[in-house]
Amino acid sequence: MTLTLHHAPDFASTIVRLALEELQLPHTLALADIDGGALSSPDYRRVNPVGLIPALETPDGPIFETAAILLWLVDKTGRLGPGPTDPDRGAFLSWLFFTSNALHQAALAMFYPHRPAGEANSDAARAAAHDQIIARLGLIETLIATQSPRWLSPDHPSVLGYYIGILTRWLILLPPAPYGIDLAQFPHLHTVLAAHESRPAAQRVAADEGLGAKPFTQPRV
């Protein structure tokens, strides 16, 4: 299976790269020169008309959207998440979509606060995003504390662990004070992410991209 990941270091494509490394799937990285406008080129828009990374070129054509790629990998390999006939599949999908459309979207509003309503309203947009992020991480914390799902656990690597790990990395590092999150408020999530970041696959990616020894729980640039 020939796989090409359109990638830039420490972007959302890193989430997919972590899964590919964990699965030990051979793949090629196609580095996207984002500042040089690579994502707007006609060639790239043929791969991903939305113009974002990641995109993964597969034998069945290109696939984009971080969570879509993660799920495609789970279904292709039978690993890192429950498959279609697993009784846990419904709950896993619920939280994968939630992470994609609620947690990830709120994180983007935090990192690009001019997007919702212009530069003049960036502070208000950031404050609103912060409240959403804390509430949504709180739901994930409660999920882990009360249900210990196998698909978001310190004992088994999962695509959702890597996805949330990269999001928390950015949520600790990037927001201006006082909006950075403190993972100590989410102890069960902290345990899950600490287990993921210490795996050999995560360590390899972290070393290559310069993410630090604890890329999810004590991130550095």
Binding site: I63, G90, L93, P116
Partner: protein, 226 residues
């Protein structure tokens, strides 16, 4: 037997159209938004986000519109299965609908969650321009993959229902969305309206005689939209 927790003209409508389109039996359970039943302990036990819909299944409750659609598709063969060469197309547009089109449209429904009141006009302008770009991408995808975006299918129903809300909201001020600008989506709206289940559901939720080609404000016989 499934139980669909719904409110009229909420995202549960998408699930209902797909369930009925596939002939899958289910019960409905009205979530009374007027009394904020979605915040009750009983509902939050099913779905801690408090959002509608939730589908109760023999393997437990499933929340998130996209997750329910994908689970139904895989369980009842309503879309390309894992391993099918169309699976990447199906998954990428399903997630795009969920985290970009639906998430941005939600900003138009609930601007106060995203911007201060005096910025709502500018917010609407920015988000509606973004939404029209999303619809242009969906129109092109639907033209290229007509079978995957057909009426009654997960991607078709999700897309066409978002066009309905785009035409209706916000309910004050000039409209920002013109279905006629998107030929594949216009054809999809006509096809969805021609399905036998559509008028039945439209009556049950008060969506009017042309819920997709000429949407009007909902007037539900029971329950509350907001």
């Amino acid at each position: 037997m499934y139980t669909l927790h719904y409110a009229p003209d909420n995202a549960s409508l998408i699930i209902r159209l797909v369930l009925d389109g596939a002939g899958l039996p289910y019960r409905t359970a009205l979530v009374d938004r007027k009394s904020r039943q979605q915040d009750s302990a009983a509902y939050r036990a099913l779905n801690p986000t408090g959002l509608i819909p939730t589908l109760e299944t023999p393997v437990g409750p499933i929340s998130e519109t996209g997750a329910i659609l994908l689970w139904l598709a895989d369980t009842h063969h309503l879309g390309p299965a894992p391993g099918d060469p169309d699976r990447p197309v199906f998954l990428k547009w399903l997630f795009f609908l969920s985290n970009s089109a639906h998430a941005d449209l939600r900003q138009i429904f609930y601007p106060h969650q995203y911007a201060p009141t005096d910025a709502h006009a500018g917010h609407k302008e920015i988000i509606s321009a973004r939404m029209n770009r999303h619809f242009a991408l969906l129109d092109a995808a639907a033209a290229r993959h007509p079978r995957l975006f057909a009426a009654a299918t997960p991607l078709g129903v999700y897309t066409v229902t978002l066009t309905r809300w785009a035409a209706l909201y916000p309910d004050q001020g000039p409209s920002w969305f013109d279905l006629a600008a998107f030929p594949a989506l216009t054809a999809l709206a006509r096809a969805q309206e021609a399905r036998v289940e559509t008028p039945v559901i439209a009556r049950a939720e008060g969506l009017g005689p042309h819920p997709f080609t000429r949407p009007e404000q909902p007037n539900p016989p029971e329950g509350s939209v907001l």
